[in-house]
Assembly symmetry: C2
Homo-oligomer: 254 residues x 2
């Protein structure tokens, strides 16, 4: 299937998933905890994942899927075409704010990012793009932000990691112009794409970072684990992404 046809198909699925979210959230959410009190999943996360998985499995039965909820959340390797799905990224925001969350899909081939989609449902903004396509917000092609240094702007940083000063990241925050925390990886990637922040550090699973990494790499950002190692697409990792300039500076101090 030609790339642009695939893009259209995925966008259609995600818009439908967004409508599903908005229908379902009118009713009382069923919220259950996973690993801890703050790690929650709702019936909406599960239904959206089921919806997207069914679309992919029906259309591309040979492809592999790695997704946040239930039995889809582990995958042995990234060979072939792999779909990485976060049905509701920022579930706590979804539960308590009913905004500031995203539906996300990344498409990888043999471990190489091909397409990324981050849909900020409540603002009606779909950020999408991929290798050789560029990056778009809805139908508008975006320009890459300035390649700023680590001190020359705001950072998005996970508060738990920041308080524990993992990898000396308090130095990054103190030297920067400020630290922000949205509570959704998808919205943090959007913030990077818009130039609102110059770097992002958090503790992420592959479905949290796979879609965004495709997009920010198109804009020249660098991303890795916090020690500079290649992302593993396997389990949770301390993740960093930043403008090339900021990333290179940070790797010297972390």
């Amino acid at each position: 299937m030609a790339n642009d046809l695939l893009v259209q198909k995925v966008k259609t699925w995600i818009y439908e998933a967004g409508k599903l979210v908005q229908e379902l959230e009118k009713n009382q959410l069923q919220v259950t905890t996973k690993s801890s009190r703050n790690d929650v999943v709702t019936n909406v996360d599960k239904e959206v994942q089921r919806f997207l998985v069914a679309k992919i499995e029906s259309e591309f039965p040979e492809d592999k899927i790695l997704a946040e909820e239930d039995e889809k959340s582990s995958l042995v390797d990234m060979s072939g075409r792999v779909w990485l799905i976060d049905p509701i990224d920022g579930t706590l925001n979804f539960v308590f704010q009913r905004e500031n969350f995203a539906i996300m899909i990344g498409v990888y081939e043999d471990g190489i990012g091909k397409l990324g989609f981050i849909y900020d449902v409540m603002r009606g903004e779909m950020y999408w793009g991929g290798a050789d396509l560029g990056v778009f917000c809805n139908e508008e092609k975006l320009e890459p932000p300035k390649n700023s240094g680590a001190k020359d702007g705001l950072w998005g940083i996970n508060i738990g990691m920041y308080v524990q000063n993992v990898g000396n990241i308090q130095t990054i925050g103190e030297n920067a112009m400020g630290v922000r925390m949205i509570g959704s990886a998808g919205l943090e990637f959007i913030s990077l794409l818009k130039g609102n922040t110059i770097g992002y550090i958090s503790n992420l699973y592959p479905w949290d970072y796979a879609p965004g990494v495709v997009l920010i790499k198109e804009f020249g950002f660098k991303a890795s684990d916090l020690d500079g190692l290649t992302l593993a697409f396997n389990g949770q990792q301390h993740f960093i992404a930043a403008t090339a300039q900021a990333y290179n500076e940070i790797m010297e101090i972390c």
Copy 2:
């Protein structure tokens, strides 16, 4: 002047100030630092303040004004009618993001909050209201959010205070469902009004909290300095606001 006429007048001024911001920000900003590298002011902050101060002084020459920039930033007492102005609340966001900032005005009489206005310029959302008026977003009257306990939702907390664990606030964050940080007091107050967060802790000046406090008190929130003392409207203070339930719980542990 009747209260509703005063409200209409102030809203008109703030909408005009919002247009001024959007005109001025098309040009290169002139950014200068104040107390530190991260404490900045732009030509837009100054021009918006001049615009609003001129309106108030022309219309109400007897009134007092306490405003963020320059010679208006200190005031001996809160007797009589006092206007508290933050021309651009969230200046770092304004500089780096060109969104997530607010124009704010509070109107106090003999130290009692009468009217509050928080205008999220880029989203076109004016939150306003006051004693006996209720709280509105644009023309829509809002309902107060649930009176949640301190553990039952998200908090907005200043990261510097959080890292230093001022007043044992890490306990609040760890017991809550999560911590967020927007970088604008005005947007944090909007977050409280919408029920997106149940509490907010930061290090604020009177112009940062005066407009928001009028609005959240209409919805039953409590606000004080972090030790539970009455807000001084004089210099910077460790500020806390929360639902009545959460506030009462917190005052027992801080």
